[in-house]
């Protein structure tokens, strides 16, 4: 069992399995990378509207294929149809959002349900046609990665590479629009156009992922990896690399699991792996994870108590706060009986001086960055340049 798992995991388990693995890993990386931009733009769920809006396109392409005399199951034709109505869906969301009084969430809900409804009508029509069993089309709903052919895997890999390249080219544009749309517009960027490029890339990834993950779950590939990556870093470029890695890893592990266990749909397993990584990140990631945040919160509380205690002592009071006393005893500022020690006196004096300097600084430079303060930065000497410091010293003495 383990050997087989290792074989699949390292692309050694036969031609077909390797193809599927390569396809899902490429899809995971591409989805993760492109998903970062709509995530930061707070427009993640537009991908949901796109994926649902592809269904009528698939139906129409199938009907067209039949009219032209084929079976209608030409993947290129179906994907072209999907991309076409998916694009219409995005434009419809933009149009409703920009030109009517309805909000974006309402626009997304409208587009996804109405387009999908039309898709269902088309599928029910196809079902009544002679020989038009929609069996091949139903696989677009829930996906069937196991049926991936070499040509399709290649198509996915090339498209994913293309999408990643284009997103790297527009790296700066996307960042500006995502972080401050008004600033971007004021600087003369064409925000609408940049948004449309972003949506086009999203559409591309959703379309190529349709057959593998299915149209309901393909959105998870662009939503979950960026959301997981967000917990690990505060930096935009690192987040892109991380999201791509998490997406690829989900594809890799998910592909392996579904190759080993019979009767598991690949798309769903990939999504579950991504969701597990997300949960782990939510809890344990050092930058924004819940536990790290809790620990930082406790330390901040300690530091506040200590500062308040020292300043109280410098002004001739005993700190009433038991937490402050505990910390000061642990630091050696108070002895066992609660008497002030020599080091405590020095620390209190130093703290008092710092406090005066900080106040003087805030008075002298009222527009200065408010994040510069005694609680987050500690010693003022480590933050401010010596000339300002000298000026402040003069002022306080």
């Amino acid at each position: 069992m383990f050997e087989k798992a290792l074989a699949v995991f390292t692309f050694q388990a036969g031609y077909n399995t390797s193809i599927v693995m390569a396809g899902v890993v490429a899809l995971g990386i591409g989805g993760g990378v492109i998903g970062v931009f709509p995530f930061l733009r707070k427009r993640t769920l537009i991908s949901n509207a796109i994926s649902h809006a592809t269904l009528p396109g698939i139906g129409l392409a199938f009907l067209m294929g039949i009219t032209l005399g084929g079976t209608g199951r030409n993947l290129m034709l179906l994907m072209a149809g999907a991309a076409l109505t998916g694009a219409l869906g995005v434009l419809a969301v933009q149009w409703i959002k920009n030109h009517t009084r309805l909000a974006e969430d309402t626009a997304i809900g409208t587009v996804l349900s109405v387009f999908f409804g039309f898709g269902i009508v088309l599928l029910s029509h196809i079902q009544t046609l002679k020989g038009g069993s929609p069996a091949g089309l139903n696989s677009f709903l829930l996906g069937s990665a196991a049926a991936l052919t070499a040509a399709e895997a290649q198509l996915i890999a090339f498209s994913a590479a293309g999408v990643i390249t284009i997103s790297i080219i527009f790296f700066k544009e996307f960042a500006v629009v995502a972080f401050d749309e008004d600033f971007a517009a004021a600087q003369g960027w064409h925000t609408t156009r940049i948004d449309l490029i972003m949506m086009a890339l999203l559409l591309a990834i959703v379309t190529i992922g349709l057959k593998t993950a299915g149209l309901i779950l393909v959105v998870a590939l662009v939503i979950i990896p960026p959301a997981a990556a967000w917990f690990w870093t505060m930096r935009y470029n690192r987040m892109i690399v991380l999201a791509g890695t998490i997406g690829g890893l989900s594809g890799w592990i998910g592909g392996t699991v579904s190759a080993l266990v019979p009767k598991v749909p690949t798309g769903a397993v990939i999504v579950l792996v991504a969701a597990a990584i997300f949960t782990f990140s939510l809890l344990f990631a050092p930058a924004r994870g819940v536990i790290a945040w809790g620990i930082r919160h406790i330390f901040l509380k300690f530091r506040i108590a200590e500062t308040c205690g020292l300043i109280a002592i410098a002004n001739g009071f005993m700190p009433p706060d038991t937490l402050a006393r505990k910390i000061m005893r642990w630091r050696g500022y108070l002895d066992i009986n609660g008497k002030l020690t020599q080091s405590g006196a020095t620390a209190a004096e130093d703290r008092q001086r710092q406090q005066h300097l900080w106040f003087a600084y805030q008075e002298r430079y009222p527009d200065a960055d408010r994040s510069l303060n005694p609680l987050t930065n500690g010693k003022i000497e480590s933050v401010l340049p010596p000339d300002i410091l000298a000026e402040l010293e003069n002022k306080t003495t």
């Binding site: 995530f39 707070k42 427009r43 993640t44 769920l45 991908s47 949901n48 649902h52 409703i96 030109h99 009517t100 009084r101 309805l102 909000a103 969430d105 309402t106 997304i108 809900g109 409208t110 996804l112 349900s113 109405v114 999908f116 409804g117 039309f118 898709g119 269902i120 009508v121 599928l123 029910s124 029509h125 079902q127 009544t128 139903n138 709903l141 829930l142 309901i216 779950l217 959105v219 998870a220 939503i223 979950i224 960026p226 959301a227 967000w230 917990f231 009767k263 598991v264 749909p265 798309g267 769903a268 397993v269 999504v271 579950l272 991504a274 969701a275 997300f278 939510l282 924004r288 819940v290």
Partner: protein, 314 residues
């Protein structure tokens, strides 16, 4: 005539009642910018039903509905937790939760024998409005007799009960809902339990979605939450009027969509019917499109004409 009464009449009735319940609640979702919570809830019904089936081993309505309810409440709880504790934006939280739960539902479905028990993902998405049959009905006068109600389809019974309950709650707590929707700050300062009202509203959305989706499928449920309310919102600024309008729009879409799906193909000489749920969603969308363009005050076309007239005037 008998055909119409046994096949089409109950289906249209279910569609209208679904439109009414979902449409009424949808107004508040649209105004509170929570439209996509309705989307998430109707997607997680699938894992809920599968788990309901796995625990009880039956496909009876009650356990499946309880399962779906449970899944809906859990998903909303998870979304709120991820939003509050993790600090993630609500769209991303919704996306993570509903895709993960839907994926779990599919894996469970495939791994257990639930897929043999007539539970499948396609059914959950499309619903099966056409199979709502009222066999005891052979003429309109039968509706006045007691016997006819013995054979009333259970979907119809469920949705009638839910519609009555939800309409009653909305009428009773109309003032509270209105204040908390438009000005939560004022509502808090007046001492209204804003958080509780918001939670109850979401639970009602879950109840409506679960009651409706067995008959009409989750996609039509989403369409009915959003389209009639959005259409009504284009037409008026008065909340009470908006509620009435949304019900009217939903009813028109239900009747129009059903008739078009059931009898439209016959006009072209085909005997087969199209998907009624899909067609109703399409009609609701077309009505919304029409009001977005031509609504008397907020329509794009009317605004454009007014703009031109003002320009000339100046």
């Amino acid at each position: 005539m008998t055909n119409f009464l046994t096949i089409d009449f109950p289906a249209i009735l279910v569609a209208i009642l679904t439109a009414t319940t979902c449409g009424l609640l949808g107004n508040f979702l649209v105004l509170r910018r929570q439209a996509l919570i309705g989307d998430a809830i109707s997607h997680v019904a699938l894992p809920g039903i599968v788990i309901g089936f796995l625990i009880t081993g039956t496909v009876a309505t009650l356990p499946l509905m309880l399962g779906a309810m449970g899944a809906a409440v859990i998903s909303v709880g998870l979304i709120e937790t991820i939003r509050r504790v993790g600090g993630l934006e609500s769209g991303a939280a919704i996306g993570v939760v509903f895709t993960a739960m839907f994926a779990a539902g599919i894996v469970l479905l495939e791994q257990t024998d639930a897929s043999n028990a007539h539970i499948d993902a396609e059914h959950a998405l499309y619903g099966n409005l056409e199979s709502t049959l009222w066999l005891g009905l052979s003429s309109w006068t039968d509706l006045l007799t007691k016997d006819a109600y013995a054979s009333m389809p259970r979907e119809l019974g469920t949705i009638i009960g839910v519609t009555l309950a939800i309409s009653f709650l909305i009428v009773t707590f109309f003032k509270e809902l209105k204040i908390t929707t438009f000005d939560p700050g004022l509502a808090t300062s007046l001492g209204l339990p804003v958080r509780t009202i918001s939670n109850v509203l979401i639970i009602l959305v879950a109840v409506a979605a679960v009651a409706a989706f067995d008959a009409v499928g989750s996609i039509l449920v989403i369409a009915m939450f959003i389209c009639p309310a959005a259409t009504a919102r284009m037409l008026t600024d008065n909340l009470a009027r908006q509620l009435w309008l949304s019900v009217a729009v939903g009813t028109v879409a239900s009747i129009g969509g059903y008739i078009l799906a059931a009898f439209g193909p016959q006009a072209f000489g085909s005997q087969k019917a199209l998907s009624a749920a899909g067609m109703i969603a399409v009609i609701a969308g077309l009505l919304q499109l029409f009001t977005m363009i031509a609504a008397p005050r907020y329509g794009i076309l009317t605004r454009f004409i007014r703009y031109g007239r003002n320009k000339k005037h100046f």
